[in-house]
């Protein structure tokens, strides 16, 4: 009965630890953005982009029913550009990026790529955007296709390289000369503390079975 109780408690503890570990694995969102695309002279929300503090990001499309619209867009050039606006929900940050509209003139599906540049702590400081292809600007198609596939690349600002210096050589204070490395030890000198107990064990143990065998032979 006591054994069963112990097993149950142990299992409960394991489950609690697993749940806690799972919670700890879920990354926290460092920054969340609403993504607006300019469609027919207005900016309509098409997705949400979350950047997590573990260096990952997630883009989620928004349904077409009653999407949000960006109100003040007068300062954003819209002439022959296809522009996206990313508005942070955590701060007042807003990133505007654009490509030529003709890049989306394609009879095939159009892909877009966000390159999110973040600080070491995951905060976003710059966004690059690409959609379609420059080859489409030479096409005869004039119809701008909607973007159907979104790719997000996350680039964290790297820690710049530093010179990798070798350790300074040790100086013998008595002579002022560089200390010479110690000569390599022999196998026995290196591992004597493993070998000696084994040898002792072998020497001390192993007498009784031999006697038994001798008796049987008799």
């Amino acid at each position: 009965m006591r054994l069963a109780y112990t097993v149950v408690v142990f299992l409960l503890l394991c489950i609690s630890a697993a749940v806690a570990a799972t919670d700890a694995l879920v990354p926290a969102a460092a920054e969340k953005f609403e993504v607006f695309h300019n469609e027919a002279a207005e900016f309509v929300q098409r997705g949400e982009l979350q950047v997590f503090d573990d260096g990952t990001a997630q883009y989620q499309s928004i349904g077409l029913q009653a999407p949000l619209r960006l109100s003040d867009t007068s300062a954003i050039a819209q002439d022959d550009s296809y522009t996206v606006v990313m508005r942070s929900l955590n701060s007042s940050a807003q990133f505007v990026a654009s490509v030529k509209k003709c890049r989306l003139n394609s009879d095939q599906k159009v892909e877009e790529t966000f390159v999110i540049h973040t600080f070491e702590n995951g905060n976003v400081f710059h966004i690059d955007y690409d959609a379609g292809s420059s080859a489409n600007c030479q096409n005869d198609h004039t119809e701008t296709k909607p973007v159907t596939f979104t790719r997000v690349l996350l680039k964290k600002r790297a820690l710049g390289p530093v010179p990798k210096l070798n350790a300074a050589p040790a100086i013998d204070m008595s002579t002022g000369r560089e200390q010479q490395p110690e000569p390599p030890k022999s196998f026995l000198a290196k591992y004597w503390y493993y070998i000696v107990p084994i040898v002792l064990l072998l020497m001390i143990g192993g007498e009784e079975p031999q006697q038994e065998g001798n008796t049987r032979r008799q």
């Binding site: 050039a77 490509v99 030529k100 890049r103 790529t113 390159v115 540049h117 600080f119 070491e120 400081f125 710059h126 690059d128 690409d130 292809s133 420059s134 080859a135 690349l153 680039k155 600002r157 790297a158 820690l159 710049g160 390289p161 530093v162 010179p163 990798k164 210096l165 070798n166």
Partner: protein, 962 residues
């Protein structure tokens, strides 16, 4: 018959082997570099004789204190200081300098040898300094403190806090009294005035302080401080609305002043001239004389006149007299010992100088004023008892003149010490005599290539005949005179055209530094600050129109663009444009009318616009006809927080200034400000190899983008580095260097070469200069590349980045890379070091892919070495060998006609030119190569063929009959 045919064929074959042979003349042997030590444009010139050595001491705008030999103008000694020099004084056998903006460095140098006798640094900006007569001590004003410094101690003998309501900029010492004179600003109750503090020199105790000379300022041209040996020190000034001179003996407050009328000195002076006149000090050692002199400058009948006034005492009476007068602007007067005074004036044709005093001399220094500008400073020196007048012009020319000779005894062109840009122009080799003959016949008609070939052979035959007629003398001893505008067949000789901040455009030969021509650019009398030099038209083909270089600079609220015939220096055009440009660059278009490369000048404003030069409709059309859109960026200057990219728009109808549309904006992260920006310079983006061949024969493709740019920012944590595409504004790579910083003492330097960004910065922990390299590849995976045939900056290409950092070989002041004709030769990275060395390190040393362990066989095959942090300062790689090239600010490389060899120039304060072959001279014959052996072997083989052919033929015939 057969033998005859064979002989003729053999002779023809040998004839085909004959070629023009180009070689070195004896005086060219071993000359691959030249070096010129400069001092910069002087701010002060003081002639002085110490220990029977006459030297001309100078402090310059390049923070140099130097002594020039008066007989030949060579540098006797010089020291390059880190901070601007505020004071230069020479007394007895000592030279005193005071320099520094935040800290006052007082240094005393040995006048003859230039060795530093002693120095003391005290907090506060250096404002004034003076020797204490009869002592080694110096009294100086540093900030608002008066100090007495002595060589015996690093601490001042005494310190005195001065009244901080005045700015003290003048020290006059007489007997044991120190008079410190400062400008006291106007208050509600008092007018602007001078404040005088009299201090006992031995103790630093204030004896007297008072105000005097109302409504004048020390540097306003209306007051002078005069020192005399025996009868005191004086202030002479004129109040703004007064025609009288006030003469105040320092330390005497009753009476405070005496009045003197300038008309007693210069009779023609009338009140209007007196009211607009200025007075200036003349630097004379008070120990040498007992009179004080100053100059009076005034305008009469639209002409500027300068009068040298001498003040003296006649018993108790104060007297003044005119020593000399000249029609000359500004302060052009110098004085020598006793009563010798010299003045010089500029005229359209040149300068006239005149010496007055114990000996009277006068003369003209005939020079083209357009070449060197006005005379701005003079000094009087004596060589073997003969007076020499040293004249300094606005562009930086120093010339020594002597009586009875129009030509200068010596001259130094210090404009090169202020060079902001340089263009290297390809030169044609001197035309052969045949081509000369063809041109002389009819210069307008150019012979065809075949005709030139025939003419050349005829000329060679004539030369052969002449040689035979001369009795087969030793050929090659006569060296044709090659000027700085003559090229050579290897492309080593080029014309280096420098543009200086002093307004000088100077052309010198790259081979030996020979002066070709100079021109002084000015708007009115104000020199143009030249910032760019472009080659607008190169003259590669014989008979083409002359090559043209264009200098672009800033005038006062204007932009000046001047075009020169590169070979003669003749000004083809000089346009003063009514705007201030913020960026100048070459456009990929040519003006059809003039054949000149079109330049773009960005005019900043709420909406930037692009002005093209030449300002013709043809040039604008040529720019708009270019196949691809054109871009430029703004805001990439130090202190900026955002960089913006613009696309040039071509509206219809065309406007003289093309509008530009904002394409992108790269806002720096909050808290960061730009400290440096870099882009490809001088064709550094060219490459011959699209990838790196790895040891296993696979290829790692380079990320090649001619629009690569780099931005460096400073923030609290360190330095941010951003690699961007300058057309799309996309960020390709970013990194942060912690504990790094940028300052005036530790500048950030960067250069771009092929797919690499190389930069140097100061790191605080561990302390030292670091050279970092970023190398961009298309992909991390070998044999993976962008398959698009047309690659555009507008297409997203995310490069794979390798980076590494090394310990710099020293504090660099300029970075660059070598460049060869086809970029096949490996590049050397050039470091212009603060120590005056020009170091060339192979780019393999800066390879970020160097392994951190012993390289594998594949890595060895690729040429990778094991990583080692320190970049070696290998003396064998110091291109400048024994020369100390001081103050390097620019390192430029240009290809020659040999793929192996590049011309390298380093300039800043000094100028140094050399040639280098980063991969060795693989396309040149080694000096040990025996041409005679080659000829003998060829002849022997030909003879063997001739002899062996009949035998072989006979053998074949016999075999056929057998």
């Amino acid at each position: 018959m057969h033998f005859l045919v064979q002989t003729v064929l053999a002779v023809l074959l040998l004839g085909c082997c004959l070629q023009s042979v180009y070689g070195l003349f004896p005086d060219e042997a071993g000359r691959i570099d030249w070096y010129r030590a400069q001092i910069g444009v002087p701010t002060k010139l003081i002639p002085h004789t110490a220990n029977d050595t006459s030297l001309l001491y100078a402090s310059t705008q390049r923070n140099v204190v130097a002594a020039l030999r008066v007989d030949d103008g060579q540098i006797a000694w010089r020291h390059v200081l880190d901070e601007p020099i505020r004071t230069l004084l020479v007394r007895d056998e000592r030279v005193l300098t005071q320099s520094g903006a935040n800290e006052s460095h007082v240094r005393v140098w040995d006048a003859a040898g230039g060795s530093l006798s002693w120095q003391v640094s005290v907090p506060g900006a250096g404002r004034a300094a003076a020797f204490v007569r009869g002592s080694s001590d110096v009294i100086a004003v540093a900030g608002d403190t008066l100090v007495r410094l002595t060589p015996e101690s690093s601490s001042p003998v005494w310190e005195l806090g001065l009244n901080n309501t005045a700015v003290y900029q003048r020290i006059v010492i007489h007997d044991d009294s120190v008079f410190v004179i400062g400008d006291a600003p106007a208050t509600r109750k008092r007018k602007r005035r001078l404040h005088v503090v009299q201090v006992e020199a031995s103790t630093g105790v204030v004896q007297l302080q008072y105000d005097t000379a109302e409504e004048v300022a020390l540097r306003g041209g209306s007051v002078v401080a005069l020192e005399t040996r025996d009868y005191g020190a004086y202030l002479v000034w004129r109040e703004p609305k007064n025609i009288l001179w006030y003469v105040h003996r320092l330390g005497m407050t009753s009476p405070m002043w005496e009045i003197y009328h300038a008309k007693l000195v210069e009779v023609e002076l009338m009140p209007p001239e007196m009211l607009s006149s200025t007075i200036s000090e003349v630097d004379i050692d008070p120990g040498l004389k007992n009179t004080a002199r100053f100059t009076l400058t005034y305008e009469k009948d639209s002409k500027t006149k300068t009068v040298v006034v001498e003040m003296f005492r006649d018993g108790d009476r104060l007297e003044m007299r005119k020593i000399a007068s000249f029609l000359a602007p500004g302060r052009l007067v110098a004085a020598g010992p006793e009563h010798t005074v010299v003045a010089a004036r500029s005229a359209e044709s040149g300068a006239t100088w005149r010496i007055r005093g114990s000996e009277k001399h006068s003369g003209d220094f005939v020079y083209a004023r357009s070449s060197y500008g006005d005379v701005v400073r003079t000094a009087l020196t004596f060589v073997n008892g003969q007076p020499h007048v040293v004249v300094q012009t606005a562009s930086g020319l120093l010339a020594a003149l002597q009586p009875g000779s129009d030509a200068p005894v010596w001259s130094r062109n210090e404009a090169l010490a202020h060079a902001a840009d340089m263009a290297l122009l390809e030169l044609l080799p001197p035309a052969s005599s045949a081509e000369h003959a063809a041109q002389e016949t009819d210069p307008s008609v150019q012979p065809s290539a075949v005709a030139r070939f025939v003419l050349r052979w005829l000329a060679a035959a004539r030369a052969l005949g002449n040689w035979a007629a001369s009795g087969f003398g030793i050929a090659g001893t006569h060296r044709p005179a090659l000027g700085p505008t003559d090229g050579d067949h290897f492309g080593f000789r080029k014309l280096a055209v420098f543009g200086s901040a002093t307004g000088a455009v100077t052309a010198v030969g790259s081979q030996d530094g020979a002066h070709a021509w100079s021109h002084h650019l000015a708007v009115g009398r104000a020199p143009v600050r030249i910032e760019h030099v472009f080659v607008a038209r190169s003259g590669h083909v014989l008979g083409d129109a002359a090559p043209v270089v264009v200098a672009v600079g800033r005038g006062r609220n204007s932009t000046v663009v001047a075009a020169f015939d590169a070979l003669t220096g003749n000004v083809l055009s000089q346009d003063v444009l009514p705007f201030v440009y913020v960026r100048a660059f070459e456009l990929p278009a040519t003006d059809s009318a003039s054949g000149l490369r079109v330049l773009g000048l960005v005019v900043d404003g709420s909406e930037p616009r692009l002005a093209v030069w030449p300002a013709t409709s043809d040039a604008v059309d040529a720019v708009c006809a270019f196949g691809s859109p054109l871009f430029f960026e703004l805001g990439d200057t130090a202190g900026s927080t955002a960089v913006r990219g613009y696309r040039i728009e071509c509206s219809s109808p065309r406007e003289p200034q093309l509008p530009a549309r904002l394409e992108w904006e790269f806002a720096l992260p909050a808290g960061e400000r730009l400290v440096s920006a870099a882009r490809y310079e001088n064709g550094a983006q060219h490459t011959a190899l699209q990838g790196r061949v790895l040891g296993d024969r696979r290829v790692l493709y380079k990320y090649l983008n001619p629009h690569l740019g780099m931005l460096a920012t400073q923030h609290e944590q360190g330095i941010g580095v951003y690699v961007i595409d300058r057309v799309s504004g996309r960020l390709l790579h970013s990194a942060v260097h912690e504990y790094a910083s940028v300052s005036r003492a530790h500048p950030f330097l960067a250069t771009l070469s092929e797919n690499r960004v190389i930069y140097q910065f100061w790191q605080g922990l561990p302390e030292g200069y670091v050279t970092a390299v970023i190398e961009l590849f298309e992909s991390d995976r070998p044999d993976t590349r962008d398959e698009r045939t047309v690659v555009s900056s507008s297409d997203l290409r995310v490069p794979s980045v390798h980076s590494a950092a090394f310990v710099s070989p020293g504090a660099a002041t300029a970075l660059g890379t070598t460049r060869t004709g086809s970029s096949i030769t490996t590049r050397d990275v050039l470091f212009g070091l603060a120590s005056g060395k020009l170091l060339a390190l192979p780019d393999a040393l800066l390879d970020p892919r160097r392994p951190m362990r012993a390289p594998t066989k594949d890595e060895q095959a690729e040429g990778l070495m094991e990583y080692a942090a320190p970049l070696p300062l290998d003396p064998r790689r110091v291109l400048s060998h024994q020369h100390m090239v001081a103050g390097i600010r620019h390192v430029v490389s240009e290809p020659t006609h040999l793929e192996s060899t590049a011309v390298v120039a380093a300039f800043g304060l000094d100028v140094f030119f050399t040639r280098t072959s980063p991969s060795g001279g693989f396309d040149q014959l080694a000096p040990s190569f025996s041409k005679a052996n080659l000829v003998i072997t060829t002849l022997a083989l030909a003879a063997g063929c001739l002899l062996g052919a009949p035998m072989v033929r006979r053998k074949l015939t016999n075999r056929a009959w057998a």
